[in-house]
Every structure is written in C-alpha cells, then in structure tokens.
Assembly symmetry: C2
Homo-oligomer: 408 residues x 2
C-alpha cells in the first residue's frame, strides 16, 4: 500500500465525461490498495470565462478579488469529481485550498505556499477516503483567498505530496511523458524512462512545457519523486528523480527549442568596471527578465555586450538600450527578434568531454551559423536564426543518437 | 450615519452591466455617509448551469459536494461586485460565508445559521470598507461548506443585519415592494408602505414570493427592520415592521392566491378518538406536507375529513388515502387538484368583526362556490375551483377597498 498524490489538469477534467474517466482511473488505484489524494485544476475553458467577466468590469484586474473569483474554478471540479467517485462506490471528500489548510503568502495572483497543515486530511485518509483537493489556491495568514498563478495546481500537488510524505506525485497531462525533444519536430523523439530534476528544470524552462517550473523546483527541494503520465492512455510515463551518483546516466537527456527570445547587442562600449550593471540595470528596472548574457572584450578596449529577453519585451528593451548607448557613448545598438535558442541538456555532460565539440560540429555540417553560445554545467545553448530551429533540433537529436536509450 | 445591510438577488446581479449599476447604487449610499454591507446571490443562470453539471454526474446529487459546488456561484458575484466598487473609488472587500464567519449546522443543502462571528467584518467596516458578502452559504463547525437552500441569501442578509445590529436590512428585488395582491391579477393592487412580520409571513407563504419565509421569520425573531425595494428603480419600497399596538392598522393588508395545492377528502370514517392521527400519520410518514385541515362530524357518527397537500404530492397522497380508507372502513375517498386557495390577511382582523362575513358575501355575489374554509387569527382562507381564483382575488380586493390606503 502506497500513498500517491495524483494531479489532473484542466483538459483531463474538461467535461463531465472526462471527470468520470478520471474517477474510474482513481478507483482502480484504490482497489489496488493505494491511498489516493487527487489535486485538480479548473475545467478547461472556465478560467478564461471568469477572466473575461472580470475584464468587463475593469482592467487591470483587482488582485485580491481576482483570486476570490478564480478559486471558484477548481472548487467546481473538486465537487464534481467527488460526486463521480462517490457514485462508483469510491468514498471521496473534496477540500478547497483553505480547507486543507494550504497557507500562502499574501502575493495575490502569484502566491507561494508557506505551510500545509494536513492533519484533517490525514484523518480522512486514514478513514479510507479519497481526498479531492483544489489545486492552485490557498489562503494567507489572514484568511484571504490566494492563487498560485496559472499552472499552480502542479505546485499544489507537489506540496501535498511533500506534506503527506507520499511515495510519488503523479502529474497527469495530455502527453505521456517527457521526451528527448518535441515529437512534433523530430518524430524519432523518445520518451525518457527517467530524467533528473536538474535536467527537467532546464527542459521545462526551455520549452518542454510539460510541468510548471516552480513545481519541479518544489519537488526537488522536498525530495518528492515526480512522475509525468498521460490522462488518456495507460503507461509508465517519465519519472523525475534525484540524481543517483551510482547510476550511469545518459550523456544527453534531451534537446530543447525556445522560440520566445529576442537578442540585443550593444557594440563598442568603453570598457570599465561596472559596465554590465550600467547596461542591464535599466532593463531590470523595467521588469524585463534577461536570459542569456555574453560579453566580449575587443582589441580596442571597448566591449560588445549581448543578451536575450522575451520577444514580448523586445521593443521596450531596444528603446532602453538606445538610451543606454547614448549615455555610455557606445558605438551602436543592434537587435534581432528572429532567433531561436537550441539547448542540449544532460547531467551526463559533467563527466563527459567533447559534448560541445560534437554539437558545434553537427551544426557546422548543416551550415547552421551559431550567433551566440552560453553554457552551464548541464546545458549548452546556442542561438541560431529562427529559420534553422527545427533543423538544428533534428540534427542534434541524430548527432547524440537520442533515438536510442544511450546509457554511456 | 447608519449601518445598512443590502441584499441583491440573482437578477439584480445577472450581468456585468447590472453589477456596475448595483455598485453605483451602493456608492451613492456610501457618499451619503452610510456604512454598507452587501449580500449577493449567484448571477442568474449560474445556479442552473451548475446543477445541470452535477446531474450529469449522478442523481440524486451528493449533498456535501453539491454545497461545495453551489457556493462558487456567490463567490464569483462577490468578487465582481467588489472589483466594480473598487473601480469607482468605493473601497470594498469580498467575504465568502466561511470567511465572515457564518457558522451553520451540518444539514447540507438546507443548513441553518447557528452563529455569526462578525469581528473581522466589523474591523473592515470601521476601516471604511464596503463589505460584499456571499449569500446562501456558510460552513459547519468542522469547516465543511454548507448552503442555506435556494433563496437563502435573504436569510444571510437578515442574519448579518442582526449580528451587526444594522438599522435596516434592505432586500432589493425585481418588484418595488409588497402589494395588496399580485398586480398581474388586479391592476389596482397597491404597494403597501408597511406590513407587519406576521402579515408578511402569511403573504409570503401564500404566494407573494417576494421574500423567503425563513428570512422573514429570522427578521422577526431578531427584530431586524426589513425593507423590500426595487433594484431597478428608486422608491421607498415596503417596510416590514413590528406590530405597533399604538398605531391603527388597516383591517386587511392583502389578498394572496395559492395555486399549488390539491385537496383530498375521506368520507364516512367511523368517528373515534385518534382518527385524525390515523388518517394523517401515513401521509406525514411519506414526507408529504399538509396545509389546511377541516373535519366535520356528520349525523350518522361518521366523520368527513378534508386536507390539502402540494399538487406535486397529490397522486402519492391519494394512493395512501385509499389504503387508509380500506383500513378504517371509510365510505369513500375523493380528491381534487383543480382548486386554488384565496386568503385575506391582516392583523387588523383581530379587532374587527365581520371580515369573514364581508368575504363570504362578496364571493357569493359572484356565485363563487366555497369548497373549504380555514381561519387563523390574522387570516381567512377559502378553497375554490381554480377557474375562479383570479375573479375571487379581484372581488375581494374591491370588497375590502384595498386600492385605497384603508386605515380603519
């Protein structure tokens, strides 16, 4: 007998029919002797319906009241799923976030869980109930309703699993696991049996939008084994696990493609201490997030400074950089929003040389020009012209033989 | 400066446009220096949408989860109305039932309020906020969500007014007050300036569906002055007040028409002690509510026993009565579901003789045959063929000169 936390997203509970299927899936686990806590999202479509109503009142939306309104989405789902479970003889009880109680800070629309008081939940589990918990929500210390931000149901599931010391947290989605790359780009993409938290973080933030990055961080922090599975077909999914030093890991876990970035370069900045701060300071102050940063010193003691931002912030960042260039007496500012970032990710990299070389060689063979490079311990990212994004992914997938389970 | 509790029903908050109108109405009161607590229902249509979803899962609906689901309706409204108020510079905060906190018993779908802990609410009132409270809901002592049953928002409003010692509880509806009778039947029906709680109870239970009867009982019990007003036009509405012995009251407050009853008669029952119980016991056991009861002793020492039930229960009650007749060796059972009940209501009746006589005479003049009579201290009801219902109402309205403010 194991205690398992399962999470079903909006698509998986998008209709009464699907809710009934989820109930049947849960009943199977219960009949196999497991204790089940289920975390659910709002039925797909409901969130947008509510936001639409709020926008008709006023924009920007009032954050406290936004949370009061949005919390109703999951509340409807927990009720319907509990009804469906009780109806097939599987005793179930719904819990809103505050009922659990899930306590958060007071940052409306993007609250963070600070504490879970799971005593009542544990009693009901011991009494044989399936617990159906509303994802994405909680209450602050004063009892105000809060939401964790879009996709926060994953975080709720992981936090519940941590609080209850569950043996596994299973995230059911519309894909059947984490792949070596996007199967829509490379049909030979292979489902990974397992992936480490660090790899998953890189893959999630780089565009494999299977899991919310905060949920993965949370799972890593509290050592909760996480599994991604399909709501619609049976299968083992992908286990997101802790790095096991005794086990051989494949060199490369996967290839990620990110199409959301744009690149800016300020050329010929007189080099002096603090110049990076003078360049990036105004960008940060405008609440623009910066991803990659590359700086070169040229021979004439000026520096070229390149960084990437989200495409949505490109025009704004370009305006800021033009002011900065004038202030710093730089030679020029240039930018390009028709780029993509391709990343090779794997904890095996640490112990294997030559990954970068293989990567650059494969891209060169295809005459794909690399515009920017950045590396971390378990990742190498390159920026290329957006025209070559998919080609680069396919080329690298083949170069690293990811279609095979390549334990090195 | 007064503290006023206002309640707006589902039609009054049925769209974003209407919610904005309600916000403007509230702002006017706030600008006039009043402290306002607003209780709202779910937007019209939402309740039915949710019930439809639940029915698709299973019928009968799981009561605990029904309440979890239904409570979301009001929660959306409090958020939207608070947004609308904040948007026009009227500082507002929403409260769900449990947040107030409104504690109820555990009778799901028809819970009763047992306690209101209004300390937090009072603090926010003192700080200058308009409080927007979800009607119809609360939580039991264990924190389970409960609902007060349909129309329970009126009860929430009255209970909040009682807990906060408000100077008035204003119920905004789609009518502009309580009328001497249904204006759709008698166009000369007149809005009453005031009506006593007792009269209102009789009028409400008899078909003037302006207010929930439980809300009126509650208001009477806690001495909360209640006012019925229109959401859509300005006006003083009708004050539902305590009977003031020093004031002259009109003899008759109004005429009510009830089309929901059917009548059953068991004829020639051998008369002996306990016979009423033997007849009505099986009916009550079948959870059928009985309204009027009339018993006559005939000359041959048998008794005729007539009572009315809701039309929905008519067939079931008839079946039960046939068994009872056999058991008691009664002569016959008859029934009629094509009847209506017409009632004359007024506390002034107590001190004025001749009301019954005026009533019977007026009906006789119109050749309306009375099939059953029942009286209480402030009410006389007659049952007539359904064909004559509206005619009887108009006849009595005229006979008692209700088109004039008839202080006796």
């Amino acid at each position: 007998m194991a205690l398992i936390v399962q999470k079903y997203g909006g698509t998986s509970v998008g209709s009464v029919e699907r809710i009934k299927l989820v109930a049947a899936k849960i009943a199977k686990e219960v009949n196999a002797g497991h204790q089940i806590v289920v975390v659910v999202s709002a039925m797909s479509g409901q969130t947008n319906r509510l936001i639409e109503l709020a926008k008709q009142i006023h924009e920007p939306i009032d954050p406290r009241e936004y949370d009061v309104m949005m919390a109703t989405g999951e509340q409807v789902t927990i009720a319907l799923l509990s009804m469906a479970l009780n109806n097939i003889g599987c005793r179930a009880k719904s819990y809103t976030g505050p009922q659990v109680a899930i306590t958060t800070d007071s940052a409306h629309m993007k609250a963070r869980i600070t504490h879970i008081e799971a005593d009542k939940v544990k009693q009901d589990l011991a009494a044989g109930y399936v617990l159906v918990v509303a994802g994405f929500q909680g209450a602050d210390a004063d009892g105000n309703l809060t939401t964790l931000g879009r996709g926060g149901s994953d975080t709720t599931a992981v936090a519940m699993a941590a609080a209850l010391h569950a043996s596994e947290c299973q995230i059911f989605t519309d894909v059947d696991g984490v792949y070596t790359t996007d199967p829509r780009i490379e049909e030979r993409a292979r489902r990974l049996e397992s992936v480490t938290f660090e790899e998953m973080l890189e893959l999630a933030s780089l565009g494999s939008k299977v899991l919310q990055i905060r949920a993965v961080e949370f799972a890593g922090k509290y050592s909760v084994p996480l599994r991604v599975l399909s709501s619609f077909e049976d299968g083992p999914g992908t286990l997101i696990s802790f790095e096991d030093k005794t086990m051989e890991r494949p060199k490369i876990a996967g290839i990620a493609l990110n199409k959301d970035e744009a690149k800016l370069t300020i050329v010929g900045v007189p080099d002096r201490p603090g110049v990076a701060h003078e360049i990036l300071g105004p960008v940060s102050e405008a609440n623009i997030e910066i991803d990659m940063i590359v700086q070169n010193i040229t021979e004439d003691d000026t520096t070229d400074f390149t960084f990437t931002v989200h495409k949505n912030d490109y025009e704004k960042a370009l305006g800021i950089m033009k002011n900065t260039a004038e202030r710093l007496q730089a030679r020029d500012v240039s930018g390009d929003d028709r780029i993509v970032k391709v990343s090779v990710v794997g904890v095996g990299m640490r112990s294997h040389a030559g990954i970068a070389n293989t990567m650059f060689e494969a891209l060169a063979n295809e005459k794909i020009n690399i515009r920017m490079i950045s590396t971390s311990e378990i990742k190498i990212s390159v920026v290329v012209n957006e025209r070559y994004g998919e080609l680069a992914v396919r080329t690298l997938h083949e170069a690293f033989e990811l279609e095979n389970a390549n334990i090195s």
